[in-house]
């Protein structure tokens, strides 16, 4: 059966070039600990430095501002908890948005339990944070603002540059979770005015288990972990060398291919969006159409439930995800769709399709061919559908 993978925002396969770069670091030729002084260690240290340069290059940072972590979740935790505890004498107020990834949302809630105050900003029906709302939320107590660059569910691109400008004027540390933007749209830490930025390896055809936090020089932050001098004491622990080298290579390739790949995927995405909206009735696109990453399409199909759609798609070899309660693992559908004011029953019928390197026009044609019959079959079963 034909297989079409449309869940690239969940994870991506490791590219062959990336795997080739990683393998020596798992084997006897280059297994060394970069903290050691002999040849194996020096070779590892050199590879670590090169990977750091490559990741820094992708986001316009200096290599010494890149701190490797176990992934995006750890980077977000380090950004929030590390700055909150290091700056609490200045104030105990944090601003974030209501559509963040749980790695930020749940960490913010944890900080609330420690006594910090957190403002969760609303978003527009299109899934965008308003700069005015950020400005209004700032108090003399505010020490940190954290707003994601690209939303993982609806793909909306947030006004990071403008929020960063505001934060800088007020002397507030600004973090962005850029896990869904790095490698997919141009990211430059200076242009975006960010002090902290989280990125992940496995979203850009690198391995799982590696990511980084960019920390602008001079930003006050405490480590989460203690016990060594690695990553300049901000992230102790022997470095995940295969992962870091793979992340570096993936970042390098993503940077080289970004302009043409962005253009290609945007054309595929538009074909998918227009095709679905034209072929099926009672469908809406969730998230702003223009301020949207080239890889994301998110629809709500009225009168049907998301998990049923995913099961049906899976039987046709199509891999996608949903914001329905059944797939979120809770009783409520996606917090992102609810924050956008989308009613529960419409959020339950959402399907996210995220494109990537391996997708072709023929994949999109196939999805457009099978989707109408899948939706029609489920609607024929639905007591909410009366047509």
């Amino acid at each position: 059966m034909r297989r079409v993978y449309l869940d690239h925002s969940a994870t991506t396969p490791v590219r062959p070039e990336v795997l080739d770069a990683m393998l020596p670091f798992l084997k006897e030729d280059a297994f060394g600990n970069p903290s050691t002084i002999y040849s194996y260690g020096r070779e590892a240290k050199k590879a670590l430095d090169e990977a750091r340069e490559k990741v820094a290059g992708l986001i316009g940072a200096r290599p010494e501002e890149i701190f490797f972590t176990s992934g995006g979740t750890e980077a977000d935790n380090l950004a929030l908890i590390g700055t909150a505890t290091a700056n609490e004498k200045k104030g105990r107020h944090i601003i974030t948005s209501s559509i963040e990834h749980h790695a930020v949302l749940h960490t913010a809630q944890y900080l609330m339990r420690l006594g910090f105050k957190v403002t969760f900003l609303p978003v527009t029906p299109e899934g965008l944070v308003r700069v005015e709302d950020v400005e209004e939320a700032i108090t003399p107590e505010t020490i940190l603002i954290s707003v994601m660059h690209v939303n993982n569910e609806v793909g909306t691109i947030q006004p990071i540059k403008e929020i960063g400008q505001l934060a800088r004027e007020r002397g507030i540390i600004f973090h962005t979770d850029a896990v869904q933007s790095v490698g997919k749209i141009p990211v430059n830490v200076d242009e975006l005015n960010v002090d902290l930025l989280s990125a992940s390896g496995h979203k850009i055809y690198g391995p799982k288990g590696v990511g980084c936090l960019y920390i602008r020089k001079g930003t006050r932050i405490n480590p989460l972990l203690h016990g060594g001098a690695q990553e300049r004491k901000r992230r102790p622990g022997t470095e995940n060398m295969p992962g870091i080298v793979g992340f570096g290579r993936a970042a390098e390739l993503a940077g080289q291919e970004l302009p043409q790949e962005m253009k290609r995927l945007q054309a595929l995405r538009d074909k998918l969006i227009d095709g679905i909206l034209n072929r099926i009735e009672d469908v809406q696109l969730n998230g702003d159409r223009e301020k949207r990453v080239a890889t994301n399409a998110n629809f709500s199909f009225r009168y049907v439930e998301g998990e049923s759609l995913l099961l049906s798609l899976d039987m046709k070899g199509i891999c996608a995800s949903s914001g329905s309660a059944c797939t979120s693992g809770s009783l409520d559908p996606s917090h992102v769709l609810l924050a956008m004011g989308i009613p529960h029953e419409v959020a339950h019928g959402s399907v996210r399709m995220t494109l990537g390197r391996d997708n072709t026009e023929a994949d999109i044609d196939y999805v457009l061919e099978v989707m109408p019959e899948i939706v029609a079959r489920l609607r024929a079963m639905s007591p909410l559908y009366n047509r």
Binding site: E305, G306, S308, L311, A325, P333, H344
Partner: protein
């Protein structure tokens, strides 16, 4: 996802039995609501105290659709008293089980059946 569902669940999801409505049914039962993501509507046709026909319409996940389909198969030909003995647990067992998190939210088909029987009894009360 399909990994966590049994083959029987997937069979009933893929080829659901008795989908549709009954014209002039003896009773109708509905459970769930669109906010929680599951609605089951069950129609029964009763003749001489026996459930001759049963159809359903369901909005919901794979488990919701499969349990609806299964209960319609289980109930056909049963007396009202026998039908009242069918529990949500029995429906899940007939499907070779459901994932733990589905046992509460999406396993309501027997409740819909009991509501349909209640509706049937209320209608008959009024008639007599």
């Amino acid at each position: 996802m399909s990994r966590v569902y049994s083959e029987k669940v997937m069979d009933h999801f893929t080829n659901p039995r008795n989908v549709g409505e009954i014209e002039n049914p003896s009773g109708v039962g509905e459970v769930g609501n669109p906010v929680c993501g599951d609605i089951m509507r069950l129609y029964i046709q009763v003749e001489d105290g026996i459930i001759k026909d049963c159809k359903f319409k369901t909005f919901g996940c794979g488990a919701a659709i499969a349990t609806s389909s299964m209960v319609t198969e289980m109930v056909k030909g049963k007396t009202i008293e026998e039908a009242l003995q069918i529990t949500n647990k029995a429906v899940a067992e007939a499907l070779d089980g459901l994932p733990a998190q589905k046992m509460h939210c999406s396993n309501l088909a027997a409740d819909a059946l009991h509501k349909a029987i209640e509706d049937y009894r209320n209608r008959n009360k009024k008639a007599s």
